[in-house]
Point group: C3
Chain length 410, copies 3
């Protein structure tokens, strides 16, 4: 498909309908998506507690790319492309480990942990070492979250994080640790994967566990974020009362949504959990050490989207973080990371199974749902279908996506 055909196709997309098939199955569009959407966003791919010591590293892999995230002797974390500047070999072969020096296993070129080249034996005249440092990847650490950006000209990080900053900071993620990580490889296009995450219309038929934790009216009106469903007077009243109460406790309240089109697709809000629930567990009872600035439980739930590729769903005593990675046209990697207070001890302060329960079972269900959705979308009979009142979040995401793509190819 050439750019002019694609521009026409973009123009043809109707409000409040799903996208045409091509957007979910075409390899050329996928390449454009990676280049123009994914590669321009700040995406968090881990938490600094995963690599606590000098030399600790892990790899972030996406398609043909592999990024080394490593902590140096001065406690600074770096991100480098895992490509030796000599003949191109991968340097780190294991998904995680510890290295005090990045030595390529092929010909032993070595690099300092900041990516600067240290040694290359027997080079020809005219070889300038300083020209051959590792390719850097943009990286920022914010509250322990490791953000990378694959763009050559990344957006300003402070501008990017500014509207969600206070919500994240209140939860003290910098003082957290990873309780568990889990991968849910999903055979579906990244947009079908995110469509699923941008609406809670499917929650009632598909996610009994989620519905046992969250209030029916919350799900209706706020299930995929503020203003993603029909407004509920009942829930608005609940929210109003809760806001008053929580403000008195000195806790953060309120919400953020993008009001005009820009490079970002961010959102944040704090809302009360279902009556009687303190967090997203089966019992709903307090389960671990309070995190961040919480002195007392406020029964609140903080939902933050920093980009389409990341979500933070945070209770007072633990947080579930999502990373969605487009791997290929029909494959998306979904990674979940559960964070608890760094001093909380498993078995003593918290039970991992209780913390994992809801989002683990829900993400397993979503994986199946997305895969069955993709199968149908591949049919020649698939045509865009009409969206419901509970799919406003999906519509918003779709609009943002189409505008970005349109601008990128103009």
């Amino acid at each position: 498909m050439n750019n002019s055909d694609l521009k026409n196709l973009i123009k043809k997309q109707k409000p409040n309908y799903t996208l045409d098939q091509a957007f979910y199955v075409d390899n050329d569009i996928f390449e454009l998506d990676i280049k123009n959407i994914f590669s321009k966003q700040w995406v968090f791919v881990g938490h600094s507690s995963r690599i606590p010591n000098f030399g600790d590293y892990f790899l972030f892999n996406i398609g043909n790319e592999s990024i080394i995230i490593i902590r140096d002797e001065k406690n600074t974390i770096h991100a480098h492309y895992n490509v030796c500047r000599h003949r191109g070999s991968h340097i780190c072969l294991e998904n995680e480990g510890n290295k005090k020096l990045l030595t390529c296993p092929y010909h032993a070129w070595s690099y300092n942990l900041d990516g600067s080249i240290k040694s290359a034996r027997l080079m020809n005249e005219g070889f300038n070492k300083e020209d051959w440092n590792l390719h850097k990847c943009n990286l920022k650490i914010f509250e322990g979250l490791i953000f990378i950006n694959l763009s050559e000209n990344p957006n300003n990080f402070d501008e990017f994080i500014s509207p969600t900053r206070k919500f994240i900071e209140f939860h003290g993620l910098a003082e957290a640790k990873i309780a568990h990580r889990e991968l849910y490889p999903t055979e579906g296009n990244w947009k079908l994967t995110l469509d699923n995450f941008h609406e809670c219309y499917h929650c009632q038929p598909s996610h009994p566990e989620y519905c046992s934790v969250h209030d029916k009216d919350y799900i209706l009106a706020y299930g995929a974020g503020s203003n993603t469903g029909p407004s509920s007077k009942k829930f608005n009243k609940m929210l109003e009362n809760w806001n008053l109460e929580v403000k008195k406790m000195g806790h953060v309240t309120g919400e953020y949504t993008e009001t005009e089109f820009n490079d970002y697709s961010r959102s944040a809000e704090r809302t009360p959990l279902k009556e009687g629930k303190y967090n997203e567990t089966k019992s709903g009872k307090p389960i671990s050490k309070l995190m961040g600035k919480f002195k007392n439980y406020d029964r609140g739930y903080t939902s933050v989207g920093t980009s389409p590729f990341n979500s933070l769903l945070m209770c007072n005593d633990f947080a579930t973080l999502f990373t969605f990675i487009p791997v290929s046209t029909l494959h998306t990697q979904v990674e979940l990371m559960w964070l608890v207070h760094k001093d909380a001890k498993e078995g003593k302060d918290y039970d991992l199974e209780e913390i994992k329960w809801m989002w683990d079972v829900t993400t397993i269900a979503d994986k199946r749902i997305i895969e069955d959705n993709q199968k149908g979308v591949l049919s020649k009979k698939y045509v865009p279908g009409p969206l419901s009142k509970m799919e406003k979040g999906l519509e918003k995401f779709k609009t943002w996506y189409l505008k970005h793509l349109d601008i990128a190819i103009s």
Copy 2:
């Protein structure tokens, strides 16, 4: 390959030679085959006894398409594309089962078994339910055989079935049941798979079991149908005598072949089995209840081809039905279905192993043969080879195929 190149290639094909490599390996030609050949034929994909009760269904899958074949409360069988009209999810996830209502597992849109939409929650203004029924697939039930047609403008079914009707009806398939089904996934282009089925030149070297059941002269002259090999005076005499005898019994006799080019590629004939054989089993002895209008065994064998994609090979007391499904350029699904009288009881009236034996072992051999044929046809050294006197059926199929393709791209 553009249409003009393909037209030239079609013109280049020589009578009594196999096709050029491209027809067996090219992805573009495969897409054209599906669109112009397979999708325009009435193809049976099952027997109504597979879904005897209200709500019983099975899926027919081909490539990216999945069709739900389901029986409703009024005993009518329907075929629908397995694609929810909302966001496109598959609705039925299991290959077979029972559903009283077609509820999409994603957002719970529901459809009646006739495909009409029943409910969709919380839709926006302007949503007209009646616009969102399931996509229907053309379907006809004939003698219990479930025929579908993927065309938007299917040929008239009565016209299509007319010449083979009496042969099929005599066997009483409407009063039959499935004794066994088996899949033989074959790594070969669908035309190599059908080439194999359209000649019995390979029977003698490759199929000892088949040759133990059928007369040598029958195999020579009729192995792949009437007039597919050199004529045999000996067999013509046998046939003449048998016809007289069988007519007296009031059984159907005769044969049908297409005499001029048309949309169809149908054939039918009744012939005698090898001396002393009553059916296609190892012993050749009567093995189950007589089917259809047979009052006594007539030692006859009814061979019907309704299209290149289906064959019915019928003895007096059981029938073996073939469905050939082009899945991708180098992959064909072959399904066999053995039918017996609906009142015949396994273990008492028939032994499944005896009934299955010949075509099971023969189809396993054919799978291997076709796969080794495909491997050689992929070689740069493959060039069309000369056909023998026993490959007239293959030549006929090839000619029909090339004409159809030529017309379709004109």
Copy 3:
């Protein structure tokens, strides 16, 4: 990529740098490589001792091609494409075996072992048997080595083998037998696989076993052949002394490299092993019967490259032979064959494990190295890197390759 783009890309390649990414990952370039490089070379694919008796055969498979190498009743070895001239089926289905007649398993067309057709049943008028012999593949046996050439106009074999002849002949491979064969399927482009074999810059970091057998100064200067590294006065002195000594014994000495561009990429040289070593084993002690014209051990090592796709690394009492087969863009088959004197008995005259040891462990390491190299080369951040003083062999191979490709597409 069209030819004019490719010519520009070829022109852009810089001396003493690795190639651009496309040469290692592009499917079109791979097809050109097969057609213009691999298919024009004489490549040995086995040793005649693998098929000692009338009717013995083995298959040489590459991509979609399968070649039957078979010995006939007059003791002549033939190479035929494994494609029946009738409908194209593979004729030999097993990787090796014994056949007194090549009978196609499909329709029983049969061929003599020299490829001439023997019988085809029931053919139509006008069928001339002599037109339907098997497609021959060019074949030469030299010193027991079975060379094939996939070209329609192969180069003259005697011209091709002339400069390496004396080195190979001295080792008496015609009087040898296969002690062991092993395949090392490698997920990397064939040029990355050969790059690895054309330099010993990686030997010190990656191959401790190799470095225990060979002298440090030999590795530096000669590790990938004569003049592939910086010259070493110390090793030159060793070589000079050893040459004098060995000449006295009447053994072959000297070296060959291509001095001007031609169709071939051949090399040969004899050099001394590390002090105290008699061969490439862990102990370095004599291990089997002396081969060929050796009367006494001379501690020499003969390294011969007949083309980029074959290497012969020969000690006095055994030889390790390499065949590199480009299978697809990202896949190369590497086959090793260890030869010993035909009268040497395993367990008595030699211990297979000792003979295999060094190149088995080294090729397993190279497989891993090449695969990790390929992964990095697939990254968007891969750019050609600078070569060291020890990678002159790689540079020479690269230059030869680029010139050939450039000429082929001109």
